[in-house]
């Protein structure tokens, strides 16, 4: 933390660069920025700046660097790994004012946006040209493109279209020195090192992104959405594995288990049968005349795994309602418990049935309720532990169960995160996936970009210390 004298000096210099109303330093102002959606960690920044342009970002970075304080970039704060929690204090750069869609080029199918543009706003702007931006994280109504890029965000439709990294062509980045560089090019596969790919998913540790060129896609001609209902998670998991094995790639294949279904139905009435063990939401897109047989094949596979119901949405409203249940499922969990811990593991899809059984066993062993709503087609699990933090000893059990789930994913040949990133939450788990030599290669790259170590310190890479965050939620958070 800075001394108040240091802070005062930095604030007055910042106010020469950015309008004073966008430089926040009083405790009651900065407290809003102490947390993201990783609800178990919080830390206050010393100063919060909301720059309005890339030039201002560059000036602010220079000033922070001269003052030797950490620089933490933040979008909408919907991140799930604590990536934007300023664990070492310092200066927070909130990029939400830089929210303009600068260009849409329908012929070459790209858009140029500022980092603070909200994900759905980009798709809405592109829709006027019959185009869309593919990555669709659950938070897309709120989360920003800059944050999506920082975390290499995914979403239900990434099964067919790939995660954020597959959709970024070029970016302007303010480096830790304050210099501005342009990485990539609007043409795909620019020569030289793929530094765009490097920055995507780097969680604010390599530079501050101030402009992004994204790929836009054409809307498919037709879409069909199937609700497949099963009595057990096992039957649903086997269906997913077998559909993938037949070579069919749906645009989305989501699983929602009984725990989540009951919460969703109480809150949203999406039309999922409340006595089901699990439902799959399977969507296919393409040319109209190709879809009926594709759906037939999918229904054929599902039919072999004892479904209690297979229902194709008959109208756009019905389809929207089925999706509403999925998209707002996480929020609905608030009905079941005062807190939840949303995990994010990946397994090879063939291992899905086995790992899902393990998740259930872990829940039982710790006496915890775990709800599952996730990207089954990608093998990207989101086991969500429901709990009451006020119960003594509960946090320890929750953290331990979470760790066991991620270990099960890694042992199955998978990974510790599919789309939420590492942040402060999982940095020590990086050692499960990478050797010291592997991690050293990453550290050297970090050092090449940020020799002073000021960009989002304490994130992404393990440093051997116990995470510095408090895992005790504050009193009164839940009313």
């Amino acid at each position: 933390m800075m001394t108040s004298m240091d802070r005062g000096a930095l604030v007055s210099r910042l106010e020469q660069v950015v309008d004073a109303s966008y430089v926040l330093h009083r405790p009651e102002d900065v407290v809003v920025y102490e947390q993201d959606a990783f609800l178990v960690a919080h830390a206050q920044p010393d100063v919060v700046v909301l720059p309005g342009s890339a030039r201002e970002v560059s000036e602010v970075v220079r000033l922070a660097r001269e003052a030797g304080v950490p620089i933490v970039a933040r979008g909408a704060g919907t991140g799930l790994n604590g990536g934007s929690v300023p664990v070492a204090g310092g200066l927070m750069l909130v990029l939400t004012r830089m929210n303009r869609v600068l260009t849409i080029d329908p012929r070459s199918r790209f858009a140029v946006v500022e980092p603070g543009v909200v994900n759905v706003d980009l798709t809405a702007a592109a829709a006027q040209h019959g185009l869309f931006y593919a990555p669709d994280p659950g938070s897309q109504g709120v989360s920003t493109i800059g944050g999506n890029v920082g975390n290499n965000a995914g979403g239900p439709h990434c099964l067919a279209y790939g995660v954020t990294g597959n959709h970024i062509l070029e970016m302007e980045v303010v480096m830790s020195s304050g210099e501005t560089v342009t990485l990539g090019s609007p043409a795909v596969d620019a020569p030289g090192y793929d530094l765009v790919g490097l920055l995507v998913g780097s969680e604010g540790t390599l530079g501050v992104i101030t402009r992004i060129t994204v790929r836009l896609l054409r809307r498919a001609e037709a879409v069909r959405t199937l609700l497949a209902v099963f009595e057990t998670i096992d039957d649903a998991s086997e269906t997913v594995s077998e559909i993938i094995a037949t070579g069919i790639v749906p645009t989305a294949m989501e699983m929602i288990d009984g725990v989540v279904i009951r919460a969703v139905e109480a809150a949203i009435h999406a039309g999922y049968p409340e006595d089901a063990g699990a439902v799959l939401l399977i969507e296919v897109e393409g040319h109209a005349d190709a879809l009926p047989r594709l759906m037939e094949r999918i229904e054929g596979v599902a039919g072999r795994h004892r479904p209690s119901l297979l229902r194709t949405a008959e109208s756009a409203q019905e389809r929207a309602l089925l999706w509403k249940g999925r998209k707002e499922g996480a929020g609905a969990l608030g009905r079941l418990a005062p807190a939840y811990y949303l995990h994010d593991g990946v397994v090879p899809r063939t291992m899905l049935p086995e790992v899902m059984r393990k998740v259930q066993a872990i829940a039982r062993a710790h006496g915890l309720v775990i709800g599952n709503l996730f990207h089954a087609g990608d093998g990207n699990l989101h086991p969500t532990i429901l709990f009451d933090p006020r119960e003594p000893g509960m946090m320890d059990r929750v953290v331990r169960a979470g760790e066991e789930i991620l270990r099960a994913c890694v042992e199955a040949g998978g990974s510790i995160t599919g789309e939420h990133g590492v942040g402060i939450e999982k940095r020590e788990y990086m050692r499960w996936l990478f050797t010291d030599v592997d991690l050293d290669a990453m550290r050297r790259v970090k050092n090449a970009f940020d020799p002073a170590g000021l960009l989002n310190p304490g994130k992404l890479l393990p440093d051997g210390t116990q995470s510095a965050y408090s895992i005790q939620p504050q009193a009164g958070v839940w009313s």
Partner: protein
Amino acid sequence: MELNGERRAALIAELRRILGDESVLIEDADVIVYEQDGSILQAMPEIVVLPADTAQVCGVVAAAGRAGVPIVPRGSGTGLAGGAVPAEGGVVVSLARLDRILGVDLRNRTAELEPGVINQDVTKGVANDGYFYAPDPSSQAACSIGGNLANNSGGPHTLAYGVTTNHALGVEIVLHDGSVAWLGGVVPDVPGYDLCGVFIGSEGTLGIVTRAVVRLMRSRERVRTLLAIFDRMDDATQAVVDVTSAGIVPAALEMMDKTTIDAIERGAPVGYPRDAEAVLLVEVEGVAEYTDRVMKMVEEICARAGARQVRVAQTEQERQSLWKGRKGAFGALGTLAPNYYVMDGVVPRSKLPETMRAVAEISGRFGVQIANVFHAGDGNLHPNILFDMRTPGALERVIEAGAEILRVCVASGGSLTGEHGIGLEKREYMGWLFSEHDLDAMARVRAAFDPTMSFNPAKIFPTPAACGETRRAPAKIPAGLWL
């Protein structure tokens, strides 16, 4: 960086200890084989080694590092930008003996490969089970996976499936100090920095890949191929724009011009019409109903754009024969001239018609014949400048014409290379695309991996230091070689 007698002898002795005598080549007559790749650039290596496993690669890298000599990895030497040419001498590390397919996991659709595995052999190994490895450079019968990774290779079917980087999940690499790191993983999108992505396309400047896990894809239910024949180049390029604007993504959309057709029909005839100005080879893959309907749409679009004739392959044999012409096109250019210089520019697809007109104009202005055979659907041009190296001044004119073509590509919002890489050939042009700050960011990454700059020096980055040892291939084609 000439090795003097004593240091050279010591290094050779150490390499022989690691690899055995027969895997260390030092005689001029042996190493001269490695002086060139598929480009027109040459430089002699001082030593060539052929390690057989990762441990030997580690030993070689550590030894060369201690001796302070350049280390130049090499696959099959089919690269087109001089990337495997040892511009500053040193040790060429051929990965040709690391050629095992280590494992195939059909259920998770991955294959684990050594770098010397030939591209085509990956697909051959899994085709009977209904799978394939998507990146299919024209050199796929000869080029290696390691070389493909280094150059981020593309191919005709890249239009639908993406280039090599979209198909590599993880790589094991030997770092500058001889240690071994894994970049990426065996599932997609592993956390941490995407160093696998940084490595792919790094042209041997960051380390040596010794193992790779790649993605396999399921073969499609139906494949249909047509040849659309045009009397005007402009109509053919417009058809490309119209197909892609209609939202159709063919599996491949290739163009060949009159000069190329002429070469193919002279060399190994497949029945392309010799009086056409251009032909398009369009392939559509997918489920049967979709494929049939899209094929009809493509036929109609081509006809509307002015195609004289559209031939749809009715049998697998006909389909193969249509492709045979395309795949053999580069070789067939040898029937027109003793040398060709293949360019690899990219333009936004919407700029294709005007760019092709500019290429024709450049051909006239420089007085050079240009054959075009390329991935039209990607906007990835391959103008081949035909010439005879023995004609004084020809090579200089060819290089100037080539640079002019790439300038046009960059000016239209495109790029210097679509799939062949920068190598030695185009490094001085990098400044057209990137600012000094941009290049500096890359240089810092380079230094993070390879602080002594031992791996493949003089590649990718513009450097003031001239490549003293490099020379363009001289006019020394033996009499009778060219028929």
